[in-house]
Amino acid sequence: MLVSERSNLRLIVLGILIFSLLATLVSRLFYLQVMEGDEYRAAAENNTVREVVEPAVRGLILDQVGRPLVSNRTSIVVTIDRQKLNQQDGNAEVVIKRLAGILGITPTSISERLMPCGTEGAPKPPICWNGSTYQVVPVASDVDPQTALTIMEKRSEFAGVTAKLTAVREYSGPFDVNAAHILGYLGPVTEEQITLQGESIAYDRLRRTDTIGRSGLEKYYDAQLRGKPSVTTLEVDTSGQVTGTLDQKPAVSGDYLVSTIDAKLQSVVEKQLVAAVQRAQGQGYPGDSGAAVVVDVRNGQILAMASYPTYDPGIWVGGVTQKQYKSLVKSDSLSSNATQGLFAPGSVYKVVSTAAASKEGYSLYSNYNCPKQVKLGTQIFRNYESSAYGRISLARALEVSCNTVFYGLAERMWQAAGGNDATRDSADPIADAASMFGFGTPTGIDLPVESAGRIASRAFKVQNWEAKRDTWCANAIAGYPDTRKTDPKLADYYTALDKENCADGFRWREGDALNAAIGQGDTTVTPLQMAMAYSAIANGGTVFEPKLVKAIMGADGSVIKRIAPTIKSQLDLTKSTINFLQNTLPGVTTDGSGKTPFIGFPLNQIPVASKTGSAQVTGDKVSTSWFASYAPANKPRYAIVMMVTQGGTGSKTSGPSVRKIYEALFGVNGSTVNPNKSVLVNGVPSKSLPVIRPDGTPVTPKGKMSGVVIATGSN
């Protein structure tokens, strides 16, 4: 090849090479700008836009006359930025130790708070950190100003630690009310909640730094209470310098909740529940838990609701420690017995059986036999609270709570539905009546969680059998070999039982029907359900959805929404059946099982309708004490249900406390009734809504009715 040709060829190669390089640039440019442009545009926006978010002042929760049950106050909160802390290369431990030293807590309690939930060795929520990596973690609240100053002055010694003034919830309501299970508490927003709102870009969306309601009213009405944050969207440059303001949204204060709860009454109910528990313990019973509910029977509003044991709701402010949380869990005080607790109702359930019998055509005014016990094969069904009364009226049977009368009615209804030959779809009158009263389904209360309870029924037996059949049959075949080694007799008994259950455990047997009639067996209810059922009897047949909030108001005092009573269901009973129950139940208080606690109470002025219950619990446990009631029986206004587990009888343990609550409600002193002495302002629940001043402070009742003076949360 000639040298000139070689040179030309190489020049061509160089030219082609350069052309391809330029083509590469253009295609890469096309890929970046056109194909992946959206992604980079989002990244650019992320880069240059900063949001400055100030949470809105959270709305207060007021009681029915305007007393703040939950307010706000400022507190110095110490937070740790874990990213900055971890940049300390091994000095993190030293910083934590130093911080623990001046805060007067253990280094472990700080470290535990910093561990993300789910990581190895991390404690359970809510102690572990449930927020994001970029969020600062609060480790202590109500730090004294001197300590805060020390932290802020010695920045180098406390890398990543900040102390700042933050608005926190104040749960110390008037009259020492606790109401922990009603009010709930706040906590950091969880990852799931962030994920749930998707890719929302709304300025009032949940952010990782937000604090939100995690239980109770704080959770159920979180959206209203939270308000809208002030968000200033700034454009920044690479050094973080602000180059402009893109958008500015002012904060909108959270709305106020006007609760149906009356703080003063709530305080009485809480004290009386504790008194009932102590009464049980005084009789030598464990009396380990309890609940009390006061309902306005005309609209379903809850005037007071208490659960024992309870906890200090303020414990959540600034986060709980592992130790605090452990004791909370151990005490079993986190869930509400009033709305989540499931208990056998016992004799207070007899109103359901009465309604069922009446619907099935059994006369409410005939006489029925009340023997000491009923034999069913090898099983004996006894009268627990009473002995043999001979032939008595149904009203008397309710007054003295004669089980055997109801056994008799249940047996006849069971036979009528086909007895042992009945099919799955045969009539089940008591179960039908129970669901009519609202048992077996959630009441619909405005709280985030509640239990539905369970009605013992044909349907339930089939369901239960389908779920457990395989286990039963397997056990029947295996014959309990382990038990057999030590106790062949017991193994035989178990095997026989499982054999029977395996073969026809779905069958609604006579024994099941008898148990169901007196609220035993598989039936469980919540105290709130019971209160709503007795309210329905009192108000002539309406089962309301219970309500804890009657209105939502703006921080400026405007009424945003009144929450109207909601009817859950109507009792499908004749007027005469309801009249029978309404006429009979006061007799329980005057001449029956509920008489003792009301001796000396001015029943002539304020007749009280009631029913006692001492529900049997499996195992060697003491019976559950129930007292269900409403008053005045001639003009029903309030229903009160109280129960204490392992508390003994209804009349001895719960009855006296229920009486005290009625005394407080009606202003009873000895045998005199003075509505002015009632714990309720003007003697009745307020019809009007509280007044909120322009500065956001609510107008509270004057004098003794005001409760303690509370700092308001609004600025």
Partner: protein, 398 residues
């Protein structure tokens, strides 16, 4: 036009080449490669607008946001004047004085080592401090000197069909290797890579034996690999060279540049955000976006269409250089054009490529677009030299 020509001629006796060589009086303006000139001017105008956009929000000079642009425009004027003077150079004189140009450039190249004069920017000690806050990057002029020197050494033979001798080859190689070694010591990796590719291109087109060429390319690649392997390159140099491969893995400084550059360009889309409207550019998220990373300004604010126009203008420039090399019968002229072609082409590819994340990040400017006086002057001088070669060719044909 004639009047202007006459006055220029009277001004400077050294550059009155056209009148002495050319037989037609006003031939300079007629014979000029106008496409090359217009492309160069268009790029310079476009570059100035981009420099303005990148520097107006510069917080370093809050009193006068236009101060940076003003300095740039002064550089542009000086550069175009230098380019004009270069185009007026006598072709033979140029070739004769090449060793002196080379020697002077090499002397300048050593000045950054002198304490009190040398300035270190971004790890490279490649700048000279001048009075009035100005700095000069002698390696830019060295690129021209190396091209001229190699072209002169490789064209010292009678016949175009005579192969360059081994001595020619080695001396041309030495002419390139000497400044490369110095620039390597100055830590200016980018310029080393450009000079290396320029040297290989010129040697290749000079028609040296294929065996030597293969050995040269092989040797270069091997020495780069060895340098990395033996740790001769400093850690940050390796980081720069490798961060473009996986920018998402590393959020350190070098990958930060690459990421921010890609966010800026990617955000531009088809039409861009509009001049002065790019959030990445105006927020100064991309470092040195008025010089090395100026393509990100075009990418973000002018979009795909604007940036393709910019690349097309550069392509026109390269096409003219390539045509000049192709048509030249004179070996010296052909090699000068080849050298300029390779220089501008590889520098363009490296500079834009690094902003797009397909080339390692090095501190070299985008020809005619980036701010930076020395580069602007060097490229305009190169355009002037291309015009000189063209004028010589045109007149030789007659």
């Amino acid at each position: 036009m004639a009047k202007f020509y006459a006055s220029t001629r009277a001004d400077n006796s050294l550059v009155g080449a056209a009148s002495r060589v050319g037989t037609r009086g006003q031939g300079f303006w007629r014979d000029l490669d106008w496409i090359l000139l217009i492309a160069g001017l268009a790029l310079t105008v476009l570059g100035s607008v981009l420099v303005w956009s990148a520097s107006r929000a510069d917080l370093a000079s809050p009193t006068d946001p236009q101060s940076y642009l003003k300095r740039h425009l002064i550089n542009v004027v000086v550069a175009i004047v230098l380019g004009y003077l270069a185009s007026r150079l006598n072709y033979r004189w140029l070739r004769a004085y090449t060793p002196i140009i080379y020697g002077a450039s090499f002397f300048l190249l050593l000045l950054p080592f002198v304490p009190g004069i040398g300035v270190t920017v971004a790890g490279a000690r490649a700048w000279i401090d001048l009075p009035g806050g100005l700095t000069l990057q002698p390696s830019e002029f060295m690129k021209i000197a190396v091209i001229l020197m190699m072209a002169a050494l490789l064209s010292e033979r009678k016949d175009i069909e005579t192969e360059p001798s081994g001595r020619d080859f080695l001396s041309a190689l030495a002419a390139a290797a000497l400044p490369i070694a110095v620039i390597l010591v100055q830590n200016d990796t980018g310029t080393v890579l450009i000079l290396g590719t320029v040297a290989i291109s010129v040697i290749a087109v000079a028609g040296v034996r294929t065996r030597w060429l293969v050995a040269l390319i092989g040797g270069s690649v091997l020495s780069i690999l060895l340098a990395i392997q033996l740790g001769l390159l400093k850690e940050y140099q390796v980081a720069r060279l490798t961060s473009f491969i996986s920018p998402d893995l590393d959020t350190g400084a070098s990958a930060y540049n690459a990421n921010q550059a890609r966010i800026a360009i990617g955000g531009g889309g088809w039409f861009g955000t509009g001049l002065f409207e790019g959030p990445q550019t105006q927020g100064k998220f991309v470092p040195v976006n008025e010089s090395d990373f100026i393509f990100t300004v075009s990418g973000e604010e002018l979009g795909f269409l604007g940036s393709v126009l910019l690349i097309l203008l550069l392509a026109v420039l390269l096409w003219r250089a390539a045509m000049l090399a192709w048509k030249a019968d004179d070996q010296y002229g052909r090699l000068v054009a080849t050298g300029v072609l390779a220089w501008l082409a590889f520098q363009t590819f490296e500079n834009i490529g690094m902003t797009l994340g397909i080339m390692p990040i090095t501190g070299i400017p985008l020809p005619l677009i980036s701010a930076g006086g020395t580069s602007m002057m060097a490229v305009w001088i190169a355009i002037g030299l291309l015009q000189t070669v063209r004028l010589h060719e045109v007149r030789a044909e007659i």
